[in-house]
């Protein structure tokens, strides 16, 4: 029988990431604490949260670009943590990345063609002649014209560069693309077009995406599921429609209600008091209790456990929340 584990493309369990930090008494700083998440084949999971909440650290750790203190990253059933160099190299064919700043992640001295051929050469995909065709297909798949293959990154617009970034990630036929704020540097109309493109690529190629973003209106258009991070923890996760319609965690509610609405009659955005939690001095108990309007006497004392409040794991509709208000 197929249980949830076998269907999952990516299953992250109890992942903790520590940075060395001279100013901390322990010499360490926990950027991500005890995080678990799943992405099925062809799924799009959005990771949202304020800057400093650990979402980029988590994305980089999944790509094995950061050392992991504890936990598991199961990709297609294999644990990437502690994989040797050859094993990780093989895995990278199936797990690719797109970064926020396309100009910084494309080599200025290579034509787009050279950039797209590199992964094909590296993984020895196709015949030498066939690779040119694959590169041409990839550039067309992201909605660019073939003549751009001979251009250099500085000759392209921001939107075109980000499409090249996507083409490079897709050229070796990955199963998962980890995209860290891929549309944040683009203007609104270009954002909408990249979102359309990602949805189309998922439909056509069956690629799954881990989409890191702080822009909630982009996430609402794109994601199947949303995971909300605060101070290094996932405080709520669930189907995107539910997260936006009936957020369960007080932080998610505050996050959604701080987006200004283009209607003067709409209720005013709420203001979260205080500072985002400082990773050097993590609060005791719930990470959010100091800024939470609904905090209970228990909140500063004990860490809430994550629990499912609706849906099932099997059909991937589970809505999970880490909050004392739901512990009854």
């Amino acid at each position: 029988m197929s249980d949830g584990t076998q269907q999952m493309l990516l299953r992250v369990s109890n992942l903790t990431i520590e940075y060395r930090e001279a100013e901390s008494p322990s010499g360490k700083l926990e950027a991500v604490r005890d995080v678990s998440l799943d992405i099925p084949r062809g799924g799009i999971l959005a990771l949202v949260g304020e800057s400093g909440s650990g979402k980029t650290s988590l994305a980089h750790a999944i790509l094995q670009l950061l050392p992991i203190a504890s936990g598991q990253v199961l990709f297609q059933g294999r644990d990437l943590v502690g994989l040797n160099k050859a094993g990780m190299r093989a895995a990278r064919r199936s797990i690719q990345a797109v970064f926020q700043d396309p100009l910084a992640s494309l080599s200025p001295r290579r034509s787009i063609r050279q950039t797209l051929l590199e992964p094909l050469d590296h993984f020895a995909i196709g015949t030498k002649r066939g690779r040119s065709d694959i590169a041409a297909e990839a550039i067309e798949a992201v909605g660019l014209e073939k003549h751009l293959l001979d251009r250099y990154p500085h000759e392209l617009s921001g939107g075109q560069r980000q499409r090249v970034g996507l083409a490079r990630a897709l050229v070796c036929g990955p199963d998962l693309v980890v995209a860290d704020e891929p549309v944040s540097s683009l203007d609104v109309s270009m954002q909408a077009r990249i979102v359309e493109l990602i949805l189309e690529l998922r439909e056509r190629l069956g690629v799954a995406f881990l989409f890191v973003s702080h822009d909630l209106s982009v996430v609402r258009r794109l994601a199947d599921r949303v995971a909300v991070m605060y101070a290094g923890q996932i405080v709520e996760s669930g189907p995107a429609s539910q997260i936006f319609k009936s957020p369960a965690h007080p932080y998610t509610r505050a996050l959604l209600r701080s987006v200004p609405v283009a209607d003067p009659e709409h209720e005013a955005p709420i203001v979260l008091e205080g500072e985002p939690s400082q990773p050097l001095t993590p609060p005791t108990g719930c990470v959010f209790h100091k800024r939470c309007a609904d905090a209970l006497p228990d909140c500063p004392l004990h860490q809430p456990v994550e629990r499912a409040i609706s849906g099932t794991e099997q059909d991937h509709t589970e809505h999970r929340v880490r909050c004392h208000l739901w512990n009854s």
Partner: protein, 266 residues
Amino acid sequence: MSDSPALSVRNLCVYVREDRTERTVVDGVSFDLAPGEVLALVGESGCGKSKTAEAIMGLVPEAVGRVTADAIELGDLDLAALGERGLQKIRGCEISMVFQEPLTALDPVFSNGYQLATQYRRHRGQSRRQSRNSARDMLRRVGFDDPDRIMRSYPHQLSGGMRQRLIIAMAMACKPRVLVADEPTTALDVTTQAQVLSQMIQMGRDTGTAILLITHDLGIVAQYCDRALVMRQGLMVEDASVKTLFVSPDHAYTATLISAAREMSL
């Protein structure tokens, strides 16, 4: 008193030099800003809203372009006639500006406390000790629980939201008549944006400072501003109270902007 505007601009034009020609980027903008009012200057990128603000502040260098106006009056001061030396005395004191990227407006080698206290020493003639006390009070007013720690630290040690609040503290230190804020929260998270905007506007209400808020976000216009000027291709196409603007926009372009914003909203 409250009848006379804090800022009055008449027929402001900005021409930007391009090779041998000039391009008109702001074309005959006129408006009044009342004391304590929050006025939005809205439009898409390239519509001339930032250039309008820079021209008011006297921040368009001759090498970049040319500014003409029938009047740019800050209360009884004629800004257009002041010249660079006169403007330097006024800027940061009678009229202040907050930019999108706070890190570029802070000096990395001076402590936050020193930079904020300098405002009080330079413009208010306060002693070292007085200026530090004023700075500490000000930091508390922009929502820092631990002002001493902030004073001792340096800009790179603050988050983006904390930096922008520090900038607002510096801009508001002398209780200016007008605060010009150019996309002050575009680089911030939504939760931090709500915090920074509501603090800035509350301080403006307390001191009677009028705020000219430049933004492309109609959500911010609707929920934080009293009145709005809509610009398109250098022209001011609409000047209306926020209530009127969203219920019955005069100009088709404004209506398009509003419906696009509603479509993108959550």
